[in-house]
Amino acid sequence: MPSSPGAPSPEELEARIAELRTAVRRAMAAGDRQAARAHRAELRAAEGAWDEAVLGDTALGDTALGDTALGEPAPDETADDAPSGERPAPPPPPRAAVPRGLVPVRERVHQALTLIGAPAAPKLIASVYAAFLPGQLPAARLTSLRRDEERSFRSAPYARPYYLCAALTADLLAPARGLLTVSTWPLEQRISGPLSARTDFLTAAIRIAEHAERRPDSPDVQRLLWRFAANIPGAATGAVGTVEPGALIAAARAELDVHAETDRRQRRRAADRARAQLDDAGRLFGARLRAMRSATGTTDGEDDR
C-alpha cells in the first residue's frame, strides 16, 4: 500500500512493514505465490515510504549513489533471507543493500554442502565456497543459520524445498555441535558416529579433489586440497604445498576403506533408531533431550555399537 496523503510516521510504517513481511512469509508457506507477490509489492512501497520519511530529501542523493554502487536488492532476497520467526524484523537500513544477483546465504551454503557431500563445519563450508564458487561466504554468518531454519520448519513444515539442518549424534540423536547438513540427504548420511568425523573428512577430500580435477588450478584450490592432503597418509606425494588431486583421491579412498564398513553399520543403526523414535522436526534438527532422561546416562545407542 503506497503512503497515504497524510504521510504516516516512521513507527507506523515499521509496524506495517513487519506486518507485510509476515504476510509474505505466510503466503509463501501456503504456496500462494500470487498473494505473496501482491504483498511483496506493498512491502516494497512501504519500505520506500519509510526511506523517504526517515532519510528525507538530504539522504536521497546518498541513496541514489549507494544504489548505483551496490545495485538494488535482488527481488527474492527478502522472502528468503528474512528470519522467519514470530519477532518482527526491523526494516532494513537502506545502505545495507545487497549487490544485485547475489545468492542468499542459505543458498550458498547449500551449494557448498552439495559439493562437499558430507556434514561439514562452517569453516570448511566457507573455504570450499571461497575456492570454487563466486563471491564470499563469511563463516560468521552461518552461526545462526541452523536456528533460523529450524524456526522456519517448525512454523511451516516442508514449505521450502530443502532445509539446512543438523547432523545427529549416533548415540543420543541430538544435534551434533557445529555441523551443517542438508535435509534432502539420506538420514544415514546425516548421522555422526564416533568414526564419522574421520570418514566425513575423507569423503569431503575425495569429493573436493574430484571437483578440483574438473577445474583449472588456482591457489585457493591448492590451499584447500593441501589442508586435506597434509592429514591423510600417503596423499602428499609432491612438493610441500602442492597436491595432485588424483593422489589425494587414491590416498583418501585407501583410508576410507579401513573405516567405511564399521562407520556405515553404526550410522545405519542410529538412522533406524531415529526413524523409529523421532518426529519430522526431530529427525531434521535433532532430539531435544530433557535433563531427566540424559541424567540417567543410559541411551539406546551406547550398547548396540
Binding site: A121, L124, L172, L195, R198, F201, V258, A295, G297
Partner: protein, 365 residues
C-alpha cells in the same frame, strides 16, 4: 578430616563455594608453604572477591589476546575431526590407521550439566577400559576430591586411548622453537596436566582397574612448531609434578590442623572484620605469587609493610634462613645486632657481603 567440612563452610561465610579448576589446583603446588592460600582454597573462598573487597583487586586478568590465540590454535588442531592431531599421533606414536574414533564429551546432547557429563565420561572410560573402544575423548569432565569436596575439572584436553592405556593430550599455544619452549610455560602446562592425570587415575581406580598401568605418566604437549602454526607434539614426563601434587593434596586434607589453630569466630565473609581475619592466617608471599594467586597484591603490600625478606624473592628468603625481616638482616650486616647462636653463620655471610659492598663502592669513589 570429617570435622573439617563444617568448619570450612563457616570460614567461607555466606558466599557460595568457588569451584576448583586445574589451574587453581596446579597453583596449590606452586607455593606449598602458604597457609593463607591453603585455608582459603580449601574453604572455597572467592579470593578475587576478597582481594577486591580489601582494595587489592587484580587490575587485569588473563590476557584476552592470549586466550583468543589459545582458542584459535586449539580449534585449528581439532578441526575436521582432529585431522591434524591424528596426523601427529600417527607420526609420533605409531597410532594405527583404524584408530580414529572421536567422542565429544563437551555436552551430552544439548545438556551441559556437570553431573551428566561426568557420568558420560565415566561410562565411556569404562567401556574403553573393558573393550578398547574409542580413541579420542574430547573434553572429558573429570572429578577430583579436594579437601573432602569434589571439584570438577573443566579440561581443554583430550584423553586418548591406545592399547587400553590412556594418555593426556594438552594443547597449548606457546611455540616450541628448535625443540625448546619457555621453561615457565612448560612447567605450568605440566602442572596442569598432572592434575588431569591424577583425576583420570582416580577414575580408573574407582572403576576397578590399575591406575598406574592404565594411565600413562607421559603427557603429550601439542604446541605450534617454530614460527609457524603447524602443531608439533612433545612427550613430557610429569612424574615429579604428580608426586608434588599428590603430596599437596594430602597436605590439603590436613588443613584442619591449621583451621583448628584459628580463633573460633573468624570468617572470610565480606565485611568489616575481613582484613583482620585474612591477616590472622599467615601468608608466605613470594614474587611468583603474582602470576598465580588473586591475593598476591594484598600479600605483597603486607610483606613490604613489615619488610619481609620473602618480598625480595624466594632465593633471598632461602639464603637468609631464619632472618624474617629486611631490617634485622641489615642490622646483622652492620654488626649493630648481636646474632644468636643459630644465626651466627647467616650473620657472618651478611657482614662479608656488607664489607664487599663497602669496598666496591669505595673503589668507585
Amino acid at each position: 578430616m570429617s570435622m573439617t567440612a563444617p568448619d570450612l563452610d563457616r570460614l567461607r561465610g555466606v558466599a557460595a563455594p568457588r569451584n576448583h579448576d586445574a589451574r587453581t589446583i596446579a597453583a596449590l603446588t606452586a607455593n606449598p608453604g602458604c597457609a593463607r592460600r591453603g585455608v582459603m582454597d580449601a574453604a572455597g573462598v572467592d579470593k578475587d572477591a576478597v582481594a577486591r573487597h580489601l582494595g587489592f583487586g587484580v587490575p587485569f586478568g588473563q590476557s584476552q589476546f592470549a586466550i583468543t590465540r589459545g582458542n584459535t590454535f586449539e580449534a585449528q588442531v581439532k578441526a575436521d575431526g582432529c585431522a591434524e592431531l591424528l596426523t601427529l599421533l600417527r607420526d609420533r606414536l605409531g597410532l594405527e590407521v583404524p584408530e580414529v574414533a572421536y567422542d565429544d564429551l563437551g555436552a551430552v546432547g544439548d545438556n551441559e550439566g556437570r553431573e551428566v557429563r561426568h557420568a558420560r565420561t565415566r561410562k565411556l572410560v569404562q567401556r574403553a577400559l573393558e573393550t578398547g573402544e574409542g580413541t579420542l575423548f574430547d573434553h572429558p569432565l573429570l572429578r577430583l576430591d579436594i579437601a573432602g569436596r569434589p571439584a570438577y575439572l573443566e579440561p581443554d584436553v583430550i584423553a586418548f586411548q591406545l592399547g587400553g592405556r590412556f594418555h593426556i593430550v594438552e594443547i597449548k599455544s606457546f611455540a616450541v622453537i628448535d625443540g625448546q619452549a619457555e621453561a615457565d610455560q612448560v612447567a605450568a602446562a605440566a602442572r596442569q596436566s598432572a592434575v588431569y592425570v591424577l583425576a583420570l587415575r582416580r577414575l580408573v581406580a574407582e572403576l576397578g582397574h590399575d591406575p598406574v598401568e592404565k594411565v600413562a605418566h607421559e603427557v603429550f604437549l601439542v604446541c605450534p612448531e617454530n614460527f609457524s602454526n603447524r602443531p608439533t607434539a612433545t612427550p613430557v614426563d610429569i612424574r615429579p609434578q604428580l608426586a608434588v601434587l599428590e603430596r599437596q593434596l594430602a597436605r590439603l586434607t590436613r588443613v584442619d590442623t591449621i583451621v583448628a589453630q584459628l580463633p573460633e569466630e573468624i570468617t572470610f565473609d565480606l565485611g568489616e572484620a575481613l582484613e583482620e581475619a585474612v591477616r590472622t592466617v599467615e601468608a608466605r608471599y613470594a614474587p611468583e605469587c603474582m602470576s598465580s594467586c588473586e591475593m598476591a597484591f594484598f600479600c605483597r603490600a603486607e610483606a613490604r609493610a613489615c619488610g619481609a625478606t620473602g618480598a625480595l624473592g624466594r632465593s633471598v628468603r632461602d639464603d637468609l634462613g631464619g632472618v624474617d625481616s629486611v631490617e634485622t638482616a641489615l642490622a646483622l650486616a652492620e654488626g649493630v645486632l648481636e646474632p644468636s647462636e643459630d644465626l651466627a653463620e647467616t650473620a657472618e655471610q651478611l657482614r662479608l657481603a656488607a664489607r664487599l659492598r663497602r669496598e666496591a663502592l669505595a673503589g668507585v669513589a
